[in-house]
């Protein structure tokens, strides 16, 4: 399908030397240009799923895989990780493990992936400067990336992925090292890229953020998809707590207002939605 960035078809995966399946009969699709979030408790297979998108499963992590994942219509089985890296980028949790360990400056680190693609030096320099500015790491341009703080290193990790201009961006709990303001800045950039047509797939435990950015939310439990829909739909589902997921606090506030019949039976899951509903409730109370 031309309008799908990712298509997961009855995917199951069990890591080598384990007996329990990390993923079991997972099927869903991510439309091109969408902001898709995957949530669930710890150890339910979110990161495993992310690893399949970029081809680390089945090419890097060995195990038994059934089903298929199509990235822009092509199976991950038929493509190498290097081929997939031109379409899809992954940022994960620990920034220091996302450094190449070959670079002595931030600029060299940003350029590493471009070098592996044979990009001409002049083009590389232009792109590195632009990304460093975008990620606000231009002031540490000549520093060793290993000497940076966790937050700065995570910006470098983001920059090193953005610079490869992937059409799909996979973010696996990637803002844990950032302070709230830093995380907001990064997500503003991610949202901007999403508005420009980049598909974003995000795994996050911050439900406020998921509610604010996601077009679609997929809930995983024990390696299988259990809920999928728009944020208001998923966070309004009474079974959510059974899957180890707490809805955003805003949802609880608006649910309480609806229970007292101060507002219509609507669920606000973002700050703006909740504020509008609280205003409506206050007007009703007056």
């Amino acid at each position: 399908m031309d309008d799908l960035a990712i298509e997961v078809k009855d995917l199951s995966f069990r890591y080598r030397q384990t007996t329990h399946a990390a993923l079991s009969h997972v099927s869903f699709s991510v439309p091109k240009g969408s902001f898709f979030c995957i949530i669930g408790g710890n150890g339910v297979g979110k990161s495993t799923l992310c690893n399949t998108f970029v081809g680390l499963i089945p090419h890097y992590f060995l195990g038994k895989m059934d089903g298929d994942v199509l990235v822009n219509g092509q199976s991950i089985i038929d493509q190498s990780i290097a081929d997939l890296s031109s379409q899809i980028g992954l940022v994960f949790q620990n920034p220091f493990n996302q450094l190449s360990y070959t670079a002595s400056t931030v600029a060299e680190e940003l350029a590493y992936g471009l070098g592996n693609r044979g990009v001409a030096r002049e083009e590389m320099v232009t792109k590195v400067e632009a990304v460093a500015k975008l990620m606000r790491i231009d002031q540490v341009f000549d520093q060793n990336p290993l000497d940076l703080s966790g937050g700065q290193a995570q910006r470098v990790a983001f920059g090193s992925t953005f610079i490869l201009e992937p059409k799909i961006l996979v973010l696996d709990e990637c803002t844990t090292q950032l302070d709230p303001m830093g995380a907001d800045e990064i997500f503003a950039i991610v949202k901007r890229l999403n508005n420009e047509g980049i598909t974003v797939i995000m795994v996050d435990h911050d439900m406020e953020r998921v509610a604010e950015y996601a077009d679609q939310v997929l809930v995983l439990a024990d390696g299988s998809p259990v809920l999928q829909g728009a944020p208001a739909e998923v966070f309004g589902d009474p079974r959510l707590a059974d899957f180890g997921v707490e809805p955003p606090d805003y949802a609880a506030v608006t649910q309480a207002l609806a229970k007292r019949q101060l507002i219509q039976d609507k669920l606000g899951v973002t700050k703006d939605q909740a504020a509008a509903l609280v205003k409506e409730g206050l007007n009703h109370a007056d």
Partner: protein, 256 residues
């Protein structure tokens, strides 16, 4: 070969491959030449080169620090006990000092010093990234280049991790200083977590490299680090090769 930027100098500006060629040509010429005088001359010239590279003090320290003890040891062993000794130049009572042994010792010392001096200058004046970029552009496997650079960076990172764990242990009241027994008691339990977390880190680092096209075999790699071959490089390379060829010819003629 430091991972940080060396001090700017005319020597630093040279292409790393020129410096490697210098190690090869000067070392080989010293080895081939029948006596030690050529090597001695090269070492003296290298002091001038070290001065140009602004590393004279540390260079002299390394050369004398290595040269003096090794010379004394070799002169003693070879001068007094070499089976080559035929011409006795001094009788020390307990042993006789032979000319042939002394000359042989001088040759070994001077050859080692030429290799040490040239390698030291390259090491101190060449940024590791530039060296790898030069090697990669000359056709060496990029994975070999990765191994060189990663080895330089991973060890300091493991030190940092150990320091973090050490500080965390100290904050919990564990004594990490003092005698050998106290240190062993503090550090042995840390080894497991350090090794295990290093293995996990290595796996994640592998993932990162793969997703950035490390295994890409379809293209010729490029580098952010600019490696140029200047006129000075061209002349120097030509000069080094001519010098080596001349030394080979002269050495053959001298032995004939």
């Amino acid at each position: 070969m430091g991972s940080g930027e060396p001090v700017k100098s005319p020597i630093e500006k040279l292409n790393p491959l020129t410096k490697m060629l210098a190690i090869f040509c000067l070392g080989l010429a010293t080895l081939i030449y029948p006596n030690s005088w050529l090597g001695l001359g090269i070492v003296i010239v290298l002091f001038g080169v070290a001065g140009m590279a602004h590393i004279l003090k540390s260079f002299a320290k390394t050369i004398f620090g290595f040269g003096i003890p090794i010379s004394l040891m070799l002169f003693f062993i070879q001068g007094l006990y070499s089976p080559k000794n035929k011409t006795i130049i001094a009788d020390l009572g307990f042993a006789k000092l032979g000319e042939e042994g002394l000359l042989y010792a001088a040759k070994i010392v001077i050859t080692l010093l030429v290799f040490l001096a040239t390698f030291y200058i390259m090491n101190q004046t060449t940024y590791a990234g530039k060296m790898v970029a030069a090697l990669t552009s000359s056709g060496i496997n990029p994975q070999v280049g990765y191994l060189i650079l990663a080895s330089l960076n991973v060890v300091p990172q493991m030190h940092r991790r150990l320091d973090v764990i050490k500080e965390a242990q100290e904050a919990r009241g564990v004594e990490t200083t003092g005698g050998l027994w106290a240190r062993l008691k503090a550090y042995i339990p840390l080894m497991g977590p350090v090794v295990m977390s290093s293995l996990t880190d290595a796996q994640e680092r592998g993932m990162t490299l793969e997703t950035r096209g490390f295994a890409n075999t379809n293209v010729k790699r490029t580098s952010y680090i600019e490696v140029t071959t200047s006129k000075a490089d061209t002349y120097l390379r030509a000069g080094l090769i001519i010098f080596l060829v001349a030394v080979i010819i002269i050495s053959i003629l001298m032995r004939w």
